[in-house]
């Protein structure tokens, strides 16, 4: 094994997506020395860069609007479970951050008079969503933030470093331990505050829009560090996920922005419109909320009216070739490379795991229940309740990232004395070395175990759930984390050993997976993105937020009424 690496900072940020990079900029401008780590490449991995279009911001450029109206729509989409203070922070903060990004050369699409274009996405009462053409909103935000963080002398960026444990001493953050992926060296990081910006966990589902790195590790890190998580059972299944024909070079979410721009008709396997069967309007407009649309598509397939690959059809055949070209620009060429001609054929779609509404419980300083531990972006729970409004993920990343950077920098300045203790860190360092040496035996690879987990989560903890499937999932996941994980065989190579990284991904990710199944089993109702076949309606008794935490290695749960 190579020698350990020791580094230090005031504020450590784990995850270099939109939230992490914005947090780095904000922490540095509030006087902190910042270390920004990413398991992959800073500014290249994560979810923000995948975001194609909608970013909600009450700028009022297309029509009169206000953060208050944006908040009303957010709370309505959240089906009663939003933390209103966090949702208000998101809506109030979005215009400032969007204009700040414009100053950093994010080229928001504009009309001829120079005003920023704003379009209406499902669930919004106003034309509110800004975007960058063509379908490159997230990529443009990431490019600006990569540029910003790389020029800041107070931000040190390190790519290919994964964090495996938080070091907590006397209940407070003292640092973290991780692995330098290209060399497999253990990394010890002394710091006064940590911001988790590791995104969501939807990689753990068979059908997913997630990057390969979104395995819920931040949830596992936070839980083992003593933090509470909130409403983790709510995972958004994006209704318009690409299903067939096979398409590469483009995110499977691509039909959502296409529908927001152009409309598009949903048809069952017989070529007939079906939304009216669920109380929604047929036709080319796109107004149906995500949770309702997901429900309708599942029910059509269940009723035997699905398309050949087990989804429904989405057709743009009524839209002219020129209009398609104007709206989609070079994206049309990507369709062509995949032999998809939208003027001649529909595509098949089916819901796909997309976004984690719940997460680490934070206050409006983005502070968790563990002093010194902060969370921002998708991993922060509360703002989105039971169902996220379309377009709220990007403002959540940049607004919460900025907020966490500022508050963590202030916290670190107030807690200058290091709490680092080599003795507290040593068990975490030892584990890295010990797991790297598990090269014998005939156990499965970590990739195989993750593959099993993806099938399990999709089939038993997916968009429609029931008690027996959830209980079976809980039992299997617990066995994976308490037994199977110890028998996994790690490849012996030292350089860029992905199987070592994947083992730690599973160790933390399995906790996140078990949390979802545990939380979903306890919530005996259907609400927003959490749908129970055995409890098909919402129940006022569960107009409550569910908190989970680890108590001697097992999950504990508690519901608290909203506004109580």
């Amino acid at each position: 094994m190579p020698d350990d690496i020791a580094i230090e900072a005031d504020v450590l940020i784990v995850g270099g997506g939109g939230a992490g990079m914005f947090a780095a900029v904000a922490a540095a401008r509030n006087g902190a020395r910042v270390l920004l780590l990413d398991k992959n490449v800073v500014g290249r991995g994560g979810a923000t860069i995948m975001a194609q279009m909608t970013c909600a911001s009450a700028l009022g450029e297309a029509e009169p609007d206000s953060p208050r109206l944006h908040l009303e729509d957010t709370l309505s989409a959240g089906r009663g479970l939003c933390n209103e203070n966090l949702a208000a922070l998101l809506c109030d903060g979005s215009p400032k951050r969007i204009r700040e990004l414009a100053g950093w050369n994010v080229n928001w699409a504009r009309s001829a008079d120079g005003k920023i274009n704003q379009v209406k996405a499902p669930g919004h009462s106003r034309k509110r969503c800004v975007y960058v053409d063509f379908l490159s909103t997230g990529a443009a935000i990431c490019a600006a933030l990569r540029n910003k963080t790389s020029r800041d002398p107070n931000v040190r960026r390190l790519s290919n470093v994964t964090v495996t444990d938080l070091v907590v001493r006397d209940g407070e953050i003292a640092g973290a331990v991780g692995i330098d992926v290209p060399t497999s060296a253990a990394v010890k990081i002394k710091c006064n505050a940590v911001i988790l910006c590791t995104g969501g966990m939807t990689k753990m589902f068979r059908r997913t829009t997630a990057s390969n790195n979104l395995a819920g590790e931040g949830i596992g890190l936070a839980l083992r560090g003593g933090a509470r998580i909130i409403d983790i059972e709510f995972l958004q299944f994006y209704p318009n996920g690409h299903l067939a024909p096979r398409m590469v070079g483009l995110d499977p979410t691509t039909w959502e922005p296409t529908r927001v721009k152009l409309g598009g008709r949903l048809l069952d396997g017989n070529g007939e419109e079906f939304l009216h069967r669920y109380g929604e309007a047929d036709g080319g407009s796109y107004d149906t909320a995500r949770d309702i649309l997901t429900y309708a598509i599942y029910k059509e397939v269940e009723a035997g009216r699905g398309s050949p690959h087990g989804g429904v059809y989405l057709s743009f055949q009524h839209i002219g070739a020129q209009k398609l070209k104007d709206a989609l620009g070079p994206v049309i060429e990507i369709f062509e490379r995949n032999n998809i001609d939208l003027t001649r054929q529909p595509v098949e779609i089916f819901p796909i795991a997309h976004y984690q509404m719940g997460g680490v419980e934070v206050d409006t300083d983005m502070a968790s229940t563990v002093p010194g531990l902060f969370a921002a972006g998708e991993i922060a729970g509360g703002a989105n309740g039971a169902n996220r409004l379309s377009g709220n993920a990007l403002p959540e990343a940049v607004v919460f990232g900025e907020r966490a950077g500022e508050t963590a920098a202030r916290y670190a300045a107030r807690h200058k004395t290091t709490r680092w203790d080599d003795k507290a860190a040593q068990p975490h360092v030892d584990l890295v070395r010990q797991v790297a040496g598990r090269n014998g035996g005939d156990g499965a690879s970590p990739g195989r175990l993750m593959d099993e987990l993806k099938t399990l989560m999709w089939s038993k903890v997916g968009a429609f759930r029931d008690a027996s499937a959830l209980a079976a999932a809980c039992a299997r996941i617990r066995a994976m984390r308490e037994a199977d994980l110890d028998d996994v065989r790690i490849a012996p190579e030292q350089n860029f050993n992905s199987s070592l990284v994947e083992w730690f991904e599973l160790r933390n990710g399995l906790l996140a997976a078990e949390a979802v199944a545990t939380g979903a089993l306890a919530r005996e109702e259907s609400r927003g993105a959490h749908q129970r076949n055995d409890f098909p309606t919402s129940d006022d008794k569960f107009l409550a937020n569910q908190r989970l935490w680890l108590d001697r290695g097992a999950f504990a749960s508690s519901f608290q009424r909203v506004h109580a």
């Binding site: 690496i5 992959n40 790519s159 070079g249 989804g311 089916f350 190579e493």
Partner: protein
Amino acid sequence: MASAQDHPCKTARLRIWRGTDRDQGRYDEYDVAFEDGDSVLDGLVRIRLKDDPSLAVRFSCFNANVCRECTMLIDGKVEYACIAKLQPRLIQLDPLPNLPIVRDLVTDTLSRKERF
């Protein structure tokens, strides 16, 4: 639900450079089942899952062509593995030239200041 894993119908043979030193590498060959439209990256992920978890390959966005991390030489040309399509024939994969090798298909593409 149908997917490539469920209904592979064709076979590609991937000839992959392995090693940590350009002068002492070797080629390993793997047969990969695929359906029309699957990417070279799909094939590499299947090899890591089914045949050899030690194979080193860099990617994060998985077939969306936004992270731009999966560049390599495919039959001698610089391409993204996530948009190059599998074909029912022998395809040779090498690490990018003129960059330090980390291992197998992973080269050190990172900015110097982003490393220790």
